[in-house]
């Protein structure tokens, strides 16, 4: 299960798409837990929007997704991160590749493109287990002009889908993203194993490794 939280913040800059905020939760006895979450939307001075996936047995994410009530106070710091970002003055084509909740900072980039009126062509490849687990479904079903969206289902493909369910392949990356000749900036975000294999595919397809930016989360075990 996942939820989008809107945080009203004081004195926080609006942020660049791809950046994160740090959330600090403090219990009554002073115990604290800190986590970082990608901003799902940037550019609004008084609010931070994050989408959080509840991790089974997690300490913070189930609280944020299931338990927290409207009006509760928490601490937020940021935005942080200056590498995995897309700025509206970038002019090259953009390939975004998301695994699961890794779509969050990439959605922030699509939204920043829209807010800036940018005409830069975007392609998003979004790997999800099933249709039900897709974030931002309505928004991605009718993407902005100039934004192509390819959804890769890994466990269960929707009825009538030409592609059987299965892990993302080099063919998915090749057909859903921009060719290396276009020298796109590629942003890959997801669980470690996903990012490792997709980044390897991009390099094998001929993309310049310096144009491939990655953000990984979760343990490798």
């Amino acid at each position: 299960m996942a939820a989008t939280l809107l945080l009203h913040v004081e004195g926080q800059p609006a942020g660049v798409a791809g950046q994160r905020v740090e959330i600090r939760l403090t219990a009554e006895d002073g115990y604290t837990a800190d986590r970082e979450y990608s901003l799902a939307r940037t550019g609004e001075a008084d609010r931070a929007e994050i989408t959080v996936q509840a991790i089974d047995g997690g300490e913070v994410s189930p609280f944020l997704v299931e338990d927290i009530e409207v009006g509760v106070e928490l601490e937020a710091r940021g935005p942080i991160g200056g590498w995995f970002v897309w700025r509206p003055d970038q002019t090259e084509p953009v390939t975004l590749i998301a695994g699961g909740s890794g779509v969050v900072p990439l959605m922030a980039m699509i939204r920043a493109r829209r807010a800036a009126g940018s005409k830069v062509p975007f392609r998003l490849i979004y790997s999800v287990r099933s249709r039900e687990e897709m974030f931002y479904r309505a928004e991605l079903r009718q993407p902005d002009p100039g934004v192509d969206v390819t959804v890769v289902h890994t466990r269960e493909a929707p009825e009538g889908s030409p592609r059987p369910a299965g892990r993302i392949t080099v063919a998915d990356v090749n057909s859903g993203g921009w060719p290396p000749d276009f020298a796109p900036s590629c942003y890959v975000c997801g669980p470690t194993g996903f990012v490792e294999s997709v980044a390897d595919m991009l390099v094998a397809l001929g993309h310049d490794p310096h144009r491939v930016r990655t953000e990984r989360f979760g343990p490798t075990g």
Binding site: A27, G81, F84, T220
Partner: protein, 199 residues
């Protein structure tokens, strides 16, 4: 104490373990890198130290393997908040690699295969505080964790332990590395919680 978040209890994990401020205990081994993992064959691998006067010292993979090795068990602390305790590494101490190198440099800029850089004071690489590590948990270090070899400087946040280490550039003045230019702290002491520039 900061703002109390109503309803949050948290999980008091870790028992009597003392972690640096703001860190949580991780049992897996997360990966954090800015880009794709470079695939470097040991035969094509070499490690270099260049001094401020332009002297170059170079070790091939075989030459590094022939140097005295140490087994190191240390706690590691990532700036993204996880700490992992008792990690077991095998590698060559920087004391061995720096011995016999004539330098009056105070800083080092570490260069990696793939172009990553990170900076730290040279003193932090001496006196049993840093290694070029090529083994993890009794096995060769895997590429996503920095194999064939990475720097290991466990008393600083783990981004200072550059993966795919290629070269130490010894400098008389500090020069910021990749994450440091992107807003992370120039030194990065986890016990003083030096995560970002200005901390």
């Amino acid at each position: 104490m900061g703002i109390v978040t109503r309803g949050f209890r948290g999980r008091r994990g870790g028992g009597d373990v003392t972690l640096p401020p703001g860190q949580y205990l991780e049992t897996g081994f997360p990966v954090l890198s800015a880009g794709p993992t470079p695939q470097i064959a040991p035969a094509a691998w070499a490690f270099e130290i260049t001094t401020e006067s332009g002297q170059e010292h170079r070790w091939s993979w075989a030459e590094l393997q022939a140097l005295p090795r140490e087994d190191i068990t240390v706690d590691i602390h990532c700036v993204t908040k996880w700490s992992k305790l008792g990690t077991r590494w095998t590698g060559v101490s920087l004391d061995v690699l720096l011995s016999g190198i004539d330098t009056s440099a105070s800083y080092a800029l570490v260069h990696s295969y793939g172009g990553y850089t990170t900076n730290l004071p040279l003193a932090d690489l001496r006196q049993g505080q840093a290694w070029v590590a090529y083994g993890y948990d009794g096995r060769p270090l895997r590429p996503e964790h920095g194999g064939p070899a990475r720097l290991l400087v466990p008393h600083l946040y783990f981004w200072k332990s550059a993966k795919w280490v290629q070269r130490l550039e010894l400098l008389t003045e500090d020069r910021l590395g990749f994450w440091e230019r992107a807003g992370y702290h120039a030194y990065g002491d986890p016990w003083r919680e030096q995560r970002y520039a200005g901390d």
